[in-house]
Symmetry: C2
Subunit: 451 residues, 2 copies
């Protein structure tokens, strides 16, 4: 008998799962129905800043696979269909057609919740005004494009995290005057320690951004339904366009309403095979809590890499195979113009919050042999446990070839290495690529020596 | 009482050891005397190709620390002094002054042999002719410079390994017509599998190099004491300048003559604390055999990274501390113009030679998200053990940002990871830096899927 897999959400996690399950089981064994409330499937939200910056020319380039292509692969994708309720006893979902408002019930044998995450939007007066946007969807990007076409010249970005930084860079590239307002005392303040974030602030200001740190937004001035300024605790900042980049929260309300377990961080609780606490109900992607490998705690890390890996793993498991998701380290990378910024594991502050006895060491190093032309500097911060020397985290800020070195440190963290052991590894060396002691070795060795 | 450490060889291993021992012990506890037969100490031989190419302007830039600077640090460096015998019973070395020919004996409490390696020079007729060089020392580089100043236009490089490739690139940059003669069927044939080396050959030929593979040199045509052509089994190749780049052998004769154990590969045998089989005699750097972590066998890997690490470790041990050298993976990187070339662990051929039941998988991937501008391709070859999926080695050939990804794989090998585990790691992602699945994850995952 044909089983039916129902998937709620047609983006990275949901469609990776669908593709993997379809790879393993034919349509006469597993019917796959995916409901997506938006109009697109499988698109690269991470590329949106570069779309508005003009580096990516055509929105279609960001769509990895459209609904027709999924259907051709035997996956019944239904767009503009929102699942509004899950009945775990009856094993069915209630679906509303967004255009007609009509509701219907669909039975499932297995259910995958892949509802993603939504941008955080505080209840500030005026937040619904025209010209106040997030950058989460292709429709958002189109609205930015319209604002630019209509002559917007002054942009305000609220929040100096990953999205805020990338949006600011790209709006600057389009010739706008850009102000970034950040409540914390440093850009990337939630993901870097302050001593590493200083270089990011310098770089933003040098680029001409009006960076206002330690500044809280209180609302928006609106005229004729359109934003004209961002109100703060101090001065208002005139704005033709406002992008909110305050991070996300997991879309777990649907699961919670159905009695499916949701964790402290607001994500659906899953085991390492992506099972929820409810039989035949699975969850994957931005809507779940993942296990942080350095603390063992559940965290919500809304990132395409995890969504893809979890989707593939849950697709395997639903198809009767066995795959495990190994957890997360909080590895991330971005850039601001030429400055590369990366992190993995715990910052010094996060380690302290987790109750770990940690110490940290910052090392300055070069991306090339000292005598090789055009060498550029980087700073690497290593966070390690005081008693054991166990590596807990790393942060890198620097020029060319700095950022991706975080992957070496992430691999070291993944394997539970000490700083001393990392400092002794056999990494590659040639003058155009690193000094004899690669910056990673140097930083780990210096941290180990401090023990 | 003051102990005396005698060091034979004033380059990376020897002087790293000296610096580390001095850091740990003052001069009234440990006297350090280093004998160096050349005129320089602590210089970066790896930079020599870039010196002759003109990227590095001044030979002095390659000297990390000169004898005066070492002496100022309390290390008694004596240049142009060659140790010609070791008497392990009497604990003394015989030293010959290269300029005067005078010999004298020096007592040691501890002896460190750091005699390095020498380039392999087959007994080809004419190999001693003017214009036939290796590129191992600053003096060699000066000779190349003289040849260019004297109007050399046709260069032949014998051997297409690391040095051969780098020399060819740099002589080409100086405007010479460059022929590379290689006995094997592929450039980098000793360090890459043939299926990965093909791209290197293409790249060399596209750059205008006359690459002659599967061709054996038989000698040199000499006129008035100066080389005029390289003789091969087929045609002679006219040459104003010949650089021999055939790899190196460990300088272990001095140790062998003193009855100190030398291994099958010709390097001095040491334990992981760099002790030889003879009390109070240590060895480090290019002259020793290191333990290959994937095979457990001794290998001679003449590379500055190992020399520096071993030197530091042995310096610690001689000073009464405890440090271990963790072995080698054979990690290496180089480039030819824009093409980056890297490897770690075992090639498919090396795995077979080691008697391992290995399989291999090649993956093509991009250094950026598909929609991000200027994405460049790379090929990653993963070698893994068939029964266990244990990673045995990796090779990368590709454009920008390809090569240094080898360090992630080296870290995985160092930790004994399976291909499947590597494919599940939390590596960094953002569109300017990688696709959602980093090439490393993609390659490891594809290899794991083949099991």
């Amino acid at each position: 008998m044909t089983r039916r897999l129902v998937i709620i959400g047609g983006d990275a996690a949901g469609m990776s799962a669908a593709a993997q399950a379809r790879r393993l089981l034919p349509a006469n064994e597993l019917e796959i129905v995916a409901f997506e409330r938006g109009s697109h499937t499988s698109y690269a939200a991470c590329g949106l800043p570069y779309l508005i910056g003009g580096l990516v020319q055509n929105p279609a380039e960001l769509v990895a696979r459209n609904p027709q292509e999924h259907r051709a692969k035997g996956i019944d994708v239904r767009i503009r269909q929102e699942v509004i309720a899950i009945d775990t006893k009856a094993s069915e979902v209630t679906v509303r057609d967004i255009d007609t408002g009509q509701e219907s019930a669909t039975h499932y044998d297995d259910l995958l919740i892949a509802t993603g995450a939504s941008g955080i939007t505080p209840p500030w007066p005026g937040i619904d005004a025209d010209g106040v946007l997030q950058l989460r969807t292709l429709a958002d990007a189109a609205q930015v494009e319209q604002a630019l076409a209509a002559g917007a010249q002054r942009a305000v970005v609220v929040g100096a995290g990953y999205i805020g930084l990338e949006v600011a860079e790209n709006l600057l590239a389009r010739g706008l005057a850009v102000t970034v307002i950040e409540k914390l005392d440093a850009p990337m303040g939630a993901v870097l320690d302050a001593d590493m974030a200083a270089a990011v602030a310098d770089s933003m200001r040098t680029a001409g951004i009006d960076l206002r740190l330690g500044t809280s937004v209180t609302g928006f001035k609106v005229s004729d339904g359109r934003v004209t300024a961002v109100e703060t605790e101090t001065d208002p900042v005139p704005a033709d366009l406002v992008i909110i980049g305050l991070g996300v929260r997991a879309n777990s309300e649907l699961a919670r309403a159905a009695g499916i377990g949701v964790g402290e961080r607001g994500g659906i609780i899953v085991d390492d095979q992506l099972r929820t606490d409810t039989p035949h109900v699975w969850a994957a992607g931005d809507c779940v809590e993942s296990r942080h490998r350095m603390t063992g705690r559940g965290v919500v890390m809304a990132l395409g890499t995890h969504a893809n890996k979890q989707g593939r793993a849950v697709g395997t498991n639903i198809a009767g195979g066995e795959a495990h998701f190994g957890g997360v380290l909080g590895t991330a990378i971005t850039k601001f113009q030429q400055l590369e910024i990366a992190r993995t594991g715990l910052t010094e502050r996060e380690a302290a919050e987790a109750g770990l006895d940690a110490f940290a060491e910052i090392t300055e190093a070069s991306n090339r042999a000292g005598y090789y032309p055009d060498a550029q500097d980087m700073r690497i911060k290593i966070v390690a446990e005081r008693q054991t020397g166990l590596m807990l985290g790393a942060q890198i800020v620097g020029g060319a070839d700095a950022g991706k070195r975080i992957d070496v440190l992430a691999t070291a963290l993944w394997n539970g290495m000490t700083a001393e052991a990392v400092g002794g590894m056999d990494l590659s060396y040639a003058p155009p690529f690193s000094p004899v002691w690669d910056p990673v070795l140097l930083a780990a060795g210096k941290a180990a020596a401090k023990l």
